[in-house]
């Protein structure tokens, strides 16, 4: 049956430059380039091109050019090309339209409407190259007050502290499970986290046993609805345990790792039979209410003898502030909010593009609610979903986040070009696939260095901006809305963000 789908990309080859080395053919898992030796020419299957630019980047003579084919149909603002293509796909298959990565719809990106402050005259800006500029942050529950005893004039801490985990930079790699991403990609994240003194999140796919000695100390392990790979050793080897309730890219629904991706290694790590589908149900089937969540939180704390903070990750939805408050009262030490632009390995397009709310608004209202209730110190707030740059990260902190999860940005640093085809398992960059031919394209030694560089670059930029604001510790910016101003926003948006307009 014809699928009546037009190609999404146009592939052009400059014949005078092409040396017939056939790199493009070998690199493309979608079989776009086919070389006919007898005719000595390439044939193109443009329809299969996803625009990942792998062939373009690797072509030694720069002979290839891949660009989007946009306006094939009659231009129509309502019935856009995307909408029509999706209808045709569904007409052909009767299925759910799948997609990967984060929401690409033009919802307002509030980061781009928030501007930072800087010092002039009345307080000096600080040069981070000359003065210390502190970014260490502790994730976990803080007490209301401290008891301090004095003996012989020496002060001594008398309170018992809840477990807190330091990160050298308030940037943490988001949950990306082994299975969703490849082993080299997973390992690269772990290596970079270890090297830079931050954390990586295992996602719900477990943590391979042989990685635990070296990397468990910088791991956040997830306990999600599928409970893959969860056992006592897994929980006890981590720094933080995260209960995953929801994901910004697909709030309210679960996940599905197809059986063909469940290799021996992944089966072992997830503790499921090889080749079986790994299904994560939409809810956690032991959590149907807030008191159930509380029981799981304390079950995990009991299992780890109260030595680790427990985080609860939720998708940013309409009443996120009230939910977050309940989560803190239920005993969570960290609340992670994942906004509508958060990424995913696979999600129904309709859900990804239409469910949830932007992180910025959710974060500001959660922070405000927790303060109004006087419980902000009882938890750390992590912001996730669509943090693209150091500027987004620092604005998230100024809006009230303790730390920032970065997922998509890390993938891009590893090579991802956001082709949105993560769900096909044919990632030419070796990131979101289990095909050994593709995954060996990533060398963790090199890829982790790219991630380290990314964190280093961001931390320099954050330090410069902090110094410009006249503060030398990140905590002085946390929740400090005085240093943010909005531009081009409506009044209700400014109200929700709790930020004044520029010039106000």
């Amino acid at each position: 049956m014809y699928d009546y789908l037009l190609p999404e990309f146009l592939v052009e080859r400059r014949e005078d430059s092409c040396i017939r080395c056939r790199v493009c053919e070998r690199q493309c898992a979608n079989n776009v380039h086919l070389y006919d030796t007898e005719l000595d020419r390439f044939f193109l299957s443009e329809k299969d091109c996803v625009g990942c630019q792998r062939c373009v980047e690797l072509c030694p003579t720069g002979a290839l050019y891949v660009h989007p084919r946009l306006a094939d149909y009659r231009p129509n603002s309502s019935w856009t090309r995307d909408k029509m293509q999706n209808l045709k796909k569904q007409a052909a298959t009767g299925g759910v339209v799948l997609t990967g990565s984060g929401n690409d719809k033009p919802y307002r990106v509030y980061w781009d409407h928030l501007l930072l402050n800087a010092s002039q005259v009345t307080n000096p800006s600080i040069d981070p190259l000359r003065e210390p500029m502190e970014m260490q942050t502790f994730l976990g529950r803080k007490p209301d007050t401290l008891k301090i005893e004095f003996s012989e004039g020496k002060a001594k801490l008398a309170s018992e502290m809840c477990p807190n985990v330091p990160v050298q930079i308030p940037l943490v790699f988001s949950a990306m499970s082994l299975g969703a991403i490849s082993y080299p990609a997973f390992k690269s994240l772990a290596m970079a986290a270890k090297e830079t003194g931050v954390l990586f999140n295992t996602g719900e796919g477990g943590l391979p046993v042989e990685m635990r000695d070296e990397y468990a100390d910088c791991a956040i392990v997830q306990c999600a609805s599928g409970r893959f790979g969860v056992d006592l050793d897994y929980l006890n080897s981590a720094r933080i345990i995260e209960i995953k309730i929801g994901q910004g890219a697909k709030p309210g629904i679960g996940g599905h790792l197809p059986g063909e991706k469940v290799s021996d290694y992944i089966a072992q790590t997830r503790m499921i039979p090889r080749g079986t589908d790994a299904l994560s149900p939409a809810p956690q089937h032991d959590i149907y209410s807030i008191e159930d969540l509380s029981m799981l939180i304390y079950a995990l704390k009991e299992a780890t003898n109260y030595t680790k903070p427990v985080s609860v990750k939720i998708a940013a939805v309409h009443n996120v502030a009230a939910i977050a408050s309940g989560i803190v009262r239920a005993g969570a030490d960290i609340v992670a909010i994942d906004g509508i632009r958060g990424g995913t390995g696979a999600a129904p397009l309709a859900t990804r593009d239409n469910v949830g709310i932007p992180l910025e608004l959710a974060l500001a209202s959660v922070d405000k609610r927790l303060r109004d209730e006087g419980i902000r110190n009882k938890c750390s707030v992590m912001a996730a979903g669509g943090i693209r740059s150091s500027a987004d990260a620092i604005k998230a902190i100024a809006l009230g986040a303790d730390g920032v999860y970065i997922g998509t940005a890390a993938l891009v640093a590893m090579g991802c070009t956001l082709c949105h085809k993560c769900y096909t398992g044919k990632c030419n960059w070796g990131i979101c696939t289990q095909n050994p031919y593709l995954t060996k394209r990533l060398n963790p030694e090199l890829t982790s260095q790219r991630l380290i560089n990314l964190l280093k670059g961001w931390s320099h930029e954050i330090q410069e901006m902090l110094g410009g604001l006249g503060v030398n510790a990140i905590e002085s910016l946390r929740g400090n809305h005085e240093h943010l101003r909005g531009v081009g926003l409506e009044e209700w948006e400014l109200n929700v963000l709790g930020v004044k307009g520029a010039g106000e």
Binding site: T122, K142, T145, F150, L157, M161, G470, E482
Partner: protein, 381 residues
């Protein structure tokens, strides 16, 4: 000046005021009371640090005759007698007023819009419902009510045996106006000269700011103001004067009075050691300082500041942790000085025995009948 007020949205919280200032404090550690000449001459010596838009004095050991009673200094803006009537009716209902009088002023000194200033010596008169409320909390709540509910009336100070005199003008003009050099003696004098950059002066905005017997004078701009303010709001302190000094005053009240932490610890909350320094401490200190920074991170006062905090028996000088604003300490016999500039100390005490500059974040704690202030001498730069 505690005023409880809730803004529906943070967008509507007014901008904070910015100012730079001159500070001076002098204390007799033997508790001997002395006149105001030194404080006045010292602040005069630092005239360029003020702009005539605010000056004020706090004096401890001021009213020995009434030292068991709360001394309320209340001003009535625009000499509003109607406000005075309302205030006095309120005082009569909630306090025993032992004695009251107009604060004497010198009519020859012309200042910008001087208010009517009155002082009341009072003891709490609690209703049966409020019997369990401690005296201090009781007085604070009533002072808050007066400040927020009665227009044109402001309580400048409310402690026992202490008083604040302040207004719009250079501090020496304020001193002349209230005749501080002639009428009063105390064992601690702190004084402030103000250089606001974005607001005209008003009498309530001058320093010192005070709650009970706590007073704060401050120089600098706290860049972490928003973070500090939001944390204090969680503890029901609502900042309405929008000066940095206000967050400092409330933070001092929260940590020292309500949570009972000593100033040596509080100084390490406002101006904590760097993480790098903490890493090199012994285990006991590492644990303590890590917990302090973690727990009280929102009370780190970031940006340039110097502050002189005083209450009975104690005067404390502190500068920010990278010493972006100056403070100098000096001592002669039992007199201990804190000042924005060393020259001001020499001007009033030519035969000074010691002068030192404490490092950033290291408090100079001057305590009655002790030599605690010398602890910072060993660490001076």
């Amino acid at each position: 000046m505690l005023v409880q007020k809730y803004y529906q949205n943070e967008r509507f919280v007014p901008d904070k005021e910015m100012d730079a200032c001159g500070l001076f404090g002098v204390m007799h550690t033997g508790g001997v009371r002395f006149g105001g000449q030194m404080a006045i001459d010292a602040i005069k010596n630092m005239k360029v640090r003020g702009s005539g838009l605010g000056g004020g004095f706090a004096i401890y050991g001021l009213y020995p005759k009434y030292k068991d009673y709360y001394a309320l200094h209340i001003i009535y803006q625009n000499k509003n007698l109607a406000a005075k009537k309302v205030v006095e009716a309120f005082l009569k209902k909630h306090f025993y007023v032992i004695f009251d009088e107009e604060i004497p002023t010198n009519p020859d000194i012309r200042l910008f819009a001087p208010p009517l200033s009155w002082r009341y010596f009072v003891a709490p008169q609690k209703s049966s419902a409020e019997e369990d409320v401690p005296d201090d909390e009781y007085v604070i709540s009533k002072v808050m009510h007066l400040n927020s509910e009665i227009e044109d009336a402001y309580v400048f100070s409310s402690g026992k045996d202490v008083g604040v005199f302040k207004g719009v003008g250079f501090p020496e003009e304020i001193a002349d106006y209230f005749m501080l050099d002639k009428l009063y003696e105390g064992y601690i004098w702190t004084v402030h000269s103000r250089f606001p950059t974005n607001t005209p002066g008003w009498w309530g905005g001058a320093h010192p700011l005070s709650i009970l017997d706590w007073t704060v004078v401050h120089n600098g701009e706290i860049s972490s103001y928003g973070a500090n303010r939001r944390f204090l709001e969680m503890h029901n302190y609502y900042c309405t004067l929008h000066t940095d000094t206000e967050v400092l005053a409330y933070a001092v009240d929260l940590l020292m009075r309500r949570q009972g932490l000593p100033i040596e610890v509080v100084a390490k909350i406002f101006a904590p050691p760097m993480w790098d320094a903490i890493r090199h401490m012994n285990d006991n200190d590492k644990e303590l300082y890590t917990a302090l920074r973690m727990t009280y991170a929102p009370l780190l006062m970031n940006g340039p500041f110097t502050v002189i905090v005083a209450h009975h028996n104690e005067m404390i000088g502190l500068t920010d942790r990278i010493r972006l604003r100056p403070i100098t300490a000096g001592a002669k016999g039992e007199l201990v000085f804190l000042s924005s500039e060393e020259a001001a100390i020499h001007a009033v005490c030519p035969d000074l025995e010691l002068a030192w500059t404490p490092p950033g974040g290291e408090p100079v704690v001057v305590r009655l009948h002790t030599k605690d202030h010398l602890q910072s001498l060993n660490k001076s730069i």
